[in-house]
């Protein structure tokens, strides 16, 4: 039940935001400052997800060699910047993670 409330609520948000100016509002009334701020949504949101995913181990900051995730993540960032390929970034990151986990075992 609560899962369906989330699904419907989230879907209403994505659709209404997409339709906002195309269907409902006049884009000329869109304040410039607000538009500028929206441009920072992707880098801010994505970094807020990536950083804990790489650096937190069971809630604590772990920047040691015992945490393979940040090492694999740094390699993935380099591969992503070089290739701009989603497949190459995910594949390289996963292989590095598996290798490090295997070495540390």
């Amino acid at each position: 039940m609560s899962t369906w409330l989330v699904i419907l609520g989230v879907s209403a948000c994505t659709f209404l935001l997409r339709a906002s100016f195309i269907v409902f509002a006049d884009p000329h009334k869109f304040p410039r400052r607000f538009r500028q701020a929206l441009a920072f949504v992707p880098p801010a949101v994505l970094a807020a997800i990536v950083a804990p995913g790489l650096l937190l181990v069971e809630g604590a900051l772990d920047l040691t060699g015992g945490n393979p995730r940040w090492i694999a993540g740094v390699v993935a960032i380099v591969v992503g910047a070089r290739t701009r390929s989603m497949l190459a970034t995910i594949a390289t990151g996963m292989v590095v993670l598996w290798l490090l986990q295997w070495v540390m075992r």
Binding site: S2, T3, W4, L5, V6, I7, L8, G9, V10, S11, C13, T14, F15, R18, A19, S20, F21, I22, V23, P27, F30, R33, R35, Q36, A37, L38, A39, F40, V41, P42, P43, A44, V45, L46, A47, A48, I49, V50, A51, P52, G53, L54, L56, G59, R69, A72, G73, A76, I77, G80, A81, R84, M86, T89, I90, G93, M94, L97, W98, Q101
Partner: protein, 209 residues
């Protein structure tokens, strides 16, 4: 394709049924929103906070909608509703490039529709494969890390200017320091702090001119 697959796996690992995972994908049709929902559901976040977080990460659609609106204003309501539903990061980039190029633009909405339907179909197939695989993949493969990696692949091209980098660094720092907050409130707090930092740099740059 790999992003859709990872998204499908994440929905299953968050505890959604296959039908719920696919319904979320078809109705919301946004990879980032789908992944956020999976992450917050897995963390046991309340319904309203999960929806609010998906709203924050989807704010970029406002910007896309405003940019595309003048080009499709002449179309019927039915067309505009359909094109709104199909709008994604990739479709936005390709359609705006075409609308800004020279040439006959009367029929460009058919191109928009064609590209949108193609992407929609591939996306849903990839998510469905992920949903089916999700139950079969053992936890020792650490496939949850693939979610982080797909966000890295999206983050790298999103950082184009110094202000973008500031937004990313501040958001990352706040996300780490606020990690102790319940229900992953840190995500919304860090996003807003990052946006504020980017905006502050932008304003400083303007004042210097």
């Amino acid at each position: 394709m790999p992003f859709g697959f990872v998204t499908g796996v994440a929905a299953i690992s968050a505890g959604m049924s296959a039908f719920e995972g696919i319904a979320l994908s078809v109705l919301s049709f946004s990879g980032i929103a789908q992944l956020i929902v999976s992450q917050l559901m897995a963390a046991g976040s309340p319904i309203l906070l999960t929806i609010a977080a998906a709203f924050v990460v989807s704010l970029r659609f406002l910007m896309y909608s405003a940019a595309v609106a003048p080009h499709v204003a002449h179309l019927s309501l039915r067309w505009r509703l359909l094109l709104s539903y199909l709008m994604t990061d990739q479709i936005f980039a390709s359609s705006v490039r075409r609308y800004e190029a020279a040439g006959d633009k009367r029929y460009l909405h058919f191109h928009f529709l064609g590209a949108g339907v193609t992407l929609f179909t591939t996306w849903q197939v990839a998510v469905a494969l992920g949903v089916l695989a999700g139950a079969a993949v053992p936890a020792s493969w650490s496939l949850d890390f693939a979610v982080v990696l797909s966000f890295i692949a999206l983050l790298v091209p999103a950082v184009r200017a110094r202000a973008d980098l500031a937004a990313a660094i501040v958001a990352a720092a706040v996300a780490l320091f606020a990690a102790g907050l319940p229900y992953r409130l840190s995500l919304v707090a860090a996003s807003l702090a990052g946006i504020a930092a980017g905006m502050a740099l932008e304003l400083m740059k303007e004042r210097r001119r």
